[in-house]
Amino acid sequence: MSRIYLSHNNIISSYGFNSSSAVEKIKNEISSLKLVEEENLMPKPFYSSMVDKRDLVEEFKSLKTKKEFTALEQMMILSLSKVIVASNSVITNRSGLIVSTTKGNIDALELDSPFKEEKAYLSELGKAIKNFFGFSMEPLVLSNACVSGVLATSVAKRLINQDLFDDVFIVSGDLVTKFILSGFNSFQAMSTEPCKPFSKSRTGINIGEVIASILVTKASANLAEEAVEILGDGTANDANHISGPSRTGEGLVRSVNSALKEADILPSDIDYISAHGTATIFNDEMEAIAFNRLKMSKIPLNSLKGYFGHTLGASGLLETIVGMHSVHQNMLFASLGFDEIGVSKPLNIIKKATKKNLNIFLKTASGFGGCNTAAIFKKV
């Protein structure tokens, strides 16, 4: 099997329309979460981070298309087009497309949606993106709850190893919708303030909106300067509960062990952990237990949810991309919102942006359905 790299990337967020605009703000510990008062989304004000749709309209004009797209499609197309341009790629029959999303155009189900109900089918979302860029193979839409964004990199790797493709483009994202907000609120999982992962005073999640895209390739030429190699990955189910995190962190432990085994490295070889850290009581506790079982409690760790909130289908890829920039810049980014440790096991939470030589990092995610995914990346 050949070496496989994560290379050119893009983040569309309320920070701006590229990865560097987000990374610069993270480096300076500036959150994009703010109080949103939009009654059509949620009856009471909530903290979130959303892409400015007027800016989106302006940015999207640069693509000079007359076709009509939903806001999500516009953001996904825009994000992917920036990756294709930056990598100087030509789409051929050896180019694959993965769309990572939990709910896609779910707002098309709303009675007053200007779009037809068919838009709510995830395959329609995939098709809109495929047709815009002229991919020849059917897109693979991955919908595996909150691990989708990380799992997408594993899937890309596997399809390249199976010789289906030379390059795979991943685009990931979910909208902040009434559907999602009311659902997480019904679980009483939403915080009324900016989220505080792993903190004693944490009160739950914020939902945010980000589109993240990346090129996964086996070509070692023309890589982005922040490119990383995938050393190993693993997914494991808790086999315990469909909505509650495991009390023992079983699935997360197994997924990390699977990734370590494939990477053929020891826990002590990992310089940095980009955790899931949603800031719910049970998730953060589960992660602390798992990382202690894995003997990783001393490795510097952060959650990036304090910058963007939980961005669902994008989160795993978004946080992987920020991790790539972190190791490239040899700088650990602060786990924003953290004050005092609020989990029962010790963790080495990064309190402020710190210069450090970084080489290998671990990205993890956990989600509904009991799924956990881990991936290990090494600086090129």
Partner: protein
């Protein structure tokens, strides 16, 4: 790295009938609604798992198909076998999404339920199967326009070659209004009569 793999068993649930390796196990009434059919199939197939009744339609469909196949293969929870789940469909969780959307559509009747919301993700059905059969394994859920044996074949072959899984339970579980189909098959390294090829998968779909 082309170690040969085989399709050990396969299961269909469609047209109000359940079959295993092409042999009919149970058929319901022709005009029966899915919700009635799947309940009577559950009873007739000695499923014996009370949590079944709280599941949404997609999970019931996927769960019953997997249960029939894994029991036939004598998969025992205490063995914690490394069987990956690689499922796909067209309608994702739209069957439950529509139901949930109705519960939040207007201000006067705004009753979002966490018990419904949790099923608005297609991979939840794999969680249900993992809990019952104690599968701490790889799982991924793909959405395609139509059944896509090429991707399923490549992905499950990859999982086995990379030693991520001993076996893979693979297939298509789709429900969209009253239209439903489940086709699941178990890929193993154990020598058998059906080779794990795209052609063989397609001919059984």
């Amino acid at each position: 790295m082309n170690s040969k793999t085989f399709i050990k068993s396969y299961c269909h649930i469609k047209n109000n009938a359940v079959s295993l390796n092409g042999t009919l196990l149970y058929h319901g009434e022709k005009e029966e609604f899915f919700s009635d059919f799947i309940k009577s199939a559950y009873k007739n197939l000695d499923t014996n798992y009370a949590k079944f009744f709280k599941m949404d339609n997609l999970s019931k469909l996927a769960f019953l198909g997997a249960d029939v196949l894994l029991k036939h293969e004598n998969v025992q929870p205490e063995k914690q076998e490394n069987i990956a789940l690689v499922f796909s469909n067209n309608a994702s969780s739209l069957d439950t999404d529509r139901k949930y959307q109705e519960s939040i559509e207007d201000k006067e009747s705004f009753y979002p339920s966490p018990a419904v919301f949790v099923y608005t993700l297609p991979n939840i059905c794999m969680g249900e199967i993992s809990i019952k059969h104690k599968l701490y394994s790889e799982n991924s859920f793909f959405i395609f326009e139509d059944f896509n044996p090429e991707y399923l074949h490549a992905y499950s072959s990859g999982l086995m070659e990379e030693n991520k899984a001993e076996k893979v339970l693979c297939g298509w579980v789709n429900i969209d209004k009253e239209d439903y189909t489940a086709f699941l098959y178990l890929v193993t390294k154990e020598e058998g009569s059906i080779s794990h090829t795209i052609k063989e998968i397609n001919s059984r779909f």
